[in-house]
Structures are given as C-alpha cells and as structure tokens.
C-alpha cells in the first residue's frame, strides 16, 4: 500500500529577480506517495526544479506547509532540515558528480561518512548489497573514471539509496545519457519505486522517461496544470 511521503499544502515560492518579485510556484497542493514513480514535467522556467527542491527541503517555501509524518517541517531550522534531508531523501542529479579521488564503494558511503561517525559495518553491508543489486558489485573498488556514464549514474543512485530514503528525488538524471544507459538507469529507478516504503520523483524534459511514470505532474508558469495517474485501482493510504 502506497503512503503519503510528503504533503505540500498551499505551497508558494517567490523570487526577487533584481527588479521585481516573481511568483515561481503558485499555490500548490500535492501529495507525493511512496510506491510511485512520479514525473514532474514542464517547459523551462515552469517551476519544476523549484518544486523538487521544496519537496526535498532544500528550498524553503515563501508560504504554505510541508507535511512529513504529519508534522509541518517547512520552516524548521537549517540544522533540523539538513538532518531530515539526510534521513528522508536521496538526491540524483543530471551529472553523477562522483568524487573522482574516491572509489565507487567510498562514493556510495559518502552520505554516511559525512554524518560524522565512522562508517559502520552495517553501512558497509548496505553498500555491498546496493552495489550488488545494481549490478555494480565487481566495480566496488574501481575509480569513477573507469566507469561508463550510465554506470556512474547508477553509482549516484546507489549513493542516494544508502540511507534508505523514503523518496529519491532526481533532477534530469537521464538527459546526459545515451539510450542504453538511460534505459538501465530508468529500469533501476522504476524498480526502486515499486517499494511501498519508497517513491521516486523525477524532474525531466526527456520523453523517454514518460512511459515509466505512474504519475505525471505537469507544470506551466509555476502552476500544476495536470496531475495524471496511471489508472489501476490501487488505494493510497492516507
């Protein structure tokens, strides 16, 4: 059963562009679920990345509430938000941004290492499991520059998964990949999104992604103009 991972309630976001205040995200109400591959689509400047970064607690909304576990977290302190981001979300970006001086295994462990404590045996086991799951076990001690673009992106997904997030938030993760690598990455993300304790949210222009979507949220001028779910009779848990 899918669960609400994040609830956006009347969320708005304004930016000052040097001359005037622009509303880049108009009043938005959305529930983002686990066990769903949600795609956020729309033209450039429509507010896609703003929405993704608000969901991921990177950007603070101008107004409205962000509910996680029934608690409003929108205006918590930076430290609290950082802790929550680390625990609840995994991020994947257009470029894998792996640290070239570290091995694949060390890259995957970075999110656990930056929490201050030494990397636990449990984290190492988790890293090995994830790499095996992604078909990257034999590359654990390879350096990023020895991998293909698709493999590097899968390492980035593995890194995002290490803390068992409830949502994987992806910003154009396939746009720099060829068809084959893109399909492998999307297959991986789709598989990950089928877990009832995890969902995937992806911002993209890439039409190759659309068939993977269980839900597509279409934005235009900072407004949700369509929210389509891929049929079926599955019930969401409120």
């Amino acid at each position: 059963m899918a669960k609400v991972a994040v609830r956006l309630n009347e969320i708005t976001r304004e930016f000052f562009d040097g001359k005037q205040i622009r509303m880049v995200l108009k009043k938005t109400n959305l529930d983002i679920y686990t066990r769903e591959f949600t795609v956020i689509a729309g033209p450039s400047g429509s507010g896609k990345t703003t929405l993704l970064t608000i969901i991921g607690l990177i950007l603070t909304p101008t107004s409205g509430r962000i509910m996680i576990d029934d608690k409003d977290v929108a205006h918590r302190s930076e430290d609290e938000l950082a802790a929550m981001r680390m625990k609840k979300f995994g991020f994947v970006f257009q470029n894998a941004d792996l640290i070239t001086a570290l091995s694949v295994a060390q890259n995957v462990l970075v999110p656990t290492a930056i929490q201050g404590a030494p990397v636990s045996a449990e984290s190492k086991r988790a890293m090995e499991e994830i790499l095996a799951q992604f078909g990257l076990a034999s590359y654990a001690y390879a350096m990023p520059q020895q991998l293909s673009a698709g493999q590097r992106q899968r390492v980035a997904i593995a890194r995002a998964m290490i803390n068992a997030p409830i949502l994987l938030l992806c910003d154009e993760p396939t746009s720099a990949l060829d068809i084959e690598s893109s399909t492998t990455v999307l297959d991986t993300l789709k598989r990950l999104s089928q877990d009832e304790n995890r969902g995937v949210v992806m911002v993209t222009h890439d039409p190759r992604v659309f068939p993977y979507a269980d839900r597509m949220i279409k934005l235009e001028d900072g407004e949700v103009i369509d929210d389509s779910k891929s049929g079926g009779e599955e019930k969401h848990e409120e």
Binding site: A41, Q194, P211, G232
Partner: protein, 358 residues
C-alpha cells in the same frame, strides 16, 4: 435517453481544438503511440497492475487505431463519435477478458504522452476530450454488454450458412428466397446486410474469428455478384459513376453493394475497390470522366483521407459531383456535408441522389 446517449450529447458541446494543436498531434502521433505502447510494456515488465503480455498484440493495434481515430475526431470536432468509438473499444476488449483497469490506464497513458510531447498550451487543448472520457468512463464501463439478435429465421439461417462457410448452400438459399417472392432489394436489405452486421457483432463479442468474418464477406460478395448478374439490367443510362473506397479503407462490401446496385439501375460503373491510393483514383477519374463520384468510408480514422480526396477531386474535376457514404460518413454527417454534393446513408439512395445531382 440512456446515460451513454446523454454523455454523447454532452460531448458535442466540447470546444473545437485549434488547427495548430491538431497539426502538432498529427506530427507527434507515431511518437505518442510508441510512448503509450512503451508505457504498457514497462508496466508489464515491472508488474504494475495486471499483466497484459498475452494481449499485447491487440493492445498495440488498439493504440494505433485509437490514435488515428483521435486525429479524425479532433479534426472534425466529432466528440460524440469519440464516445461511441471508445465504447466500442471497451465492449470489444471486455469480451476478450480485458480487466477494467486497462481503460483508465490507457487514457492516462495518452494524456501523459501528450503532455510530455506537445507544448503546454496545445497539450491542454488536446487532453480535454480525453479528460471528458475519463470523467465519464464509469458509465461507458457499465454499458459494455451488447445484445445481438436477428429479426427472423431467414436471416439466422443465412448467417449460419455463412459462418459454416457453405458458399454453394448460402447462394442456393438466397436463390430460393428470390423464388419465394423476395426482391433483390429485399434480399440485400432484409437478409444480407443484417446477417453481415450480426457477424460483425459476433466478432466484437469474440464468438467468431477474423477469418470467419472474412470468409462470410467473401461469400456475401460472391452472392451479390450472382444476384446482380441474374437481374435483367434496366435500360442503360447515359451516365457514368465511379465508386471507390477512400484511401486506407479496407471494408469494401458496402461500396460493392452500391456499385452493383447502380449498375443494375443502368449506370456505367467504374469500381476501384478498396485501399486504392488517391492519385490512382484521380487518374481513373480523369480517364473515364464520370459525372458522379461516390466514395465510401467505414472507419472514422479514414475521414481525413476522405476529405483530402474529396478536396483534390473538386480541384481537378470541378464538374464532377461527389457523393459520400459509409458508416464513418454517416456518423460524421454534420461535418462531412461541406465536403460533398450529397451524402447517402443507405445504398438504395445512391441512384436517386446521383440523378438529382446531374
């Protein structure tokens, strides 16, 4: 008025879609069909919902045909026809054991594909009729079962002979009906057409196969020729008519009936059959100079090619009169009028309509 009819009349009020949006849809159609198919393949691969693997071939066909029909529906603002076509798809697939969840998934896959491929201002227009369908889907899903009954034993007897592929017996049976007082018209209208319609419904209900239907069509075509050849011709008229299916149209029995009927009424008939390319039809027209051109279209998806051909003939042969007929033309009657000199709903109207135009 039943609820399905209520929806059809509400659909008629949907706003027309801009030419630019239709042109975008036309350009993107192959890609959209591909995306919709991919979506179902991916859902199957990851077990999202009921697997469709055994139905995938049918599903791909349905998506292609739905896309083609959508284009025609949008081009001529035939939203009531969209409801009808979708209800036909629902009924046909339910009889093939499709699950209810396929239909909302299919509509959403189209909506997602359109939203993903076509710019927002146009995609918003294009999804409105699909959203309307989605909102009214429950009514369509409740009304999927069709009743199919023939009116009398003679129709039943003839249909059974067709389904048993007994050409000789079917022919003898029609001759015996002629002997018992049926006119050729009675026979066509009262026996052949209802039996073939019923066979269409039996296919829809998954009770017979496509090859059963094709065999029945072939036998009926043979009988029509036999009947027509056995009727003494009326005095030859000094008029020529070209009868043709529109480009892309495979269903030619109706066109054949019209051609045979006009021939029996004394016309010189040039029949070009099914699926002839439009340039070939135009060549035949310029060679024989028929005063009347009668084009038939059965599938809604063939309406754009019907209109294209009609416009082309009007340009190249402005003196010729154009008559349009066939199931799709009848359904889109109010939109097709401007593209023809006359429309017919029944093959028996062809002769008098054509004479009136001369």
């Amino acid at each position: 008025m039943d609820r399905l009819e209520e929806i059809k009349s509400a659909a008629e009020k949907l706003p027309a879609i801009s030419e630019d949006a239709i042109s975008k849809l036309c350009q993107s159609l192959p890609r959209l069909v591909q995306l919709v198919n991919e979506k179902f393949l991916i859902d199957d691969k990851f077990c999202c919902g009921k697997p469709l693997d055994k139905h995938m071939k049918i599903v791909k066909n349905i998506h292609k045909n739905f896309g083609d029909a959508l284009l025609a529906v949008y081009q001529f603002s035939l939203y009531d026809v969209l409801i009808h076509e979708f209800a036909w798809i629902v009924s046909t697939l339910f009889y093939r054991d499709f699950e209810k969840d396929y239909f909302p998934k299919m509509l959403n896959a189209w909506i997602m594909a359109i939203h993903g491929t076509i710019e927002p201002s146009r995609s918003r227009e294009l999804i409105q009729p699909l959203r309307f369908l989605e909102r009214n889907l429950s009514v369509i899903l409740e009304n999927w079962d069709i009743s199919a009954k023939l009116e009398n034993e003679n129709q039943e007897e003839f249909m059974n002979l067709l389904l048993e592929k007994r050409r000789r017996d079917a022919t003898d049976y029609t001759i015996s009906l002629l002997d018992s007082g049926y006119s050729p018209d009675d026979l066509c209208h009262g026996i052949l057409i209802p039996a073939m319609k019923q066979i269409g419904l039996l296919w829809q209900k998954n009770q017979i196969t496509v090859s059963d239907e094709h065999a029945a069509t072939e036998i009926t075509r043979y009988i029509i020729y036999r009947l027509c050849d056995s009727i003494p011709r009326k005095q030859a008229l000094p008029h020529r008519v070209l009868v043709s299916c529109v480009p892309g149209e495979e269903h030619e029995l109706g066109a054949e009936m019209v051609a045979s009927y006009l021939e029996s009424q004394g016309w010189t008939v040039y029949f070009t059959g099914h699926s002839a390319p439009d340039e070939d039809i135009v060549v035949v027209i310029s060679r024989y100079m028929p005063e009347v051109i009668l084009l038939t279209s059965t599938l809604i998806s063939n309406l754009p090619s019907t209109v294209e051909l009609s416009k082309r003939i009007r340009q190249t042969e402005p003196a010729s009169k154009i008559i349009l007929g066939g199931r799709a033309v009848v359904r889109a009657k109010r939109r097709m009028q401007e593209f023809a000199d006359a429309l017919i709903v029944d093959y028996r109207e062809a002769h008098l309509t054509a004479i009136r135009l001369l």
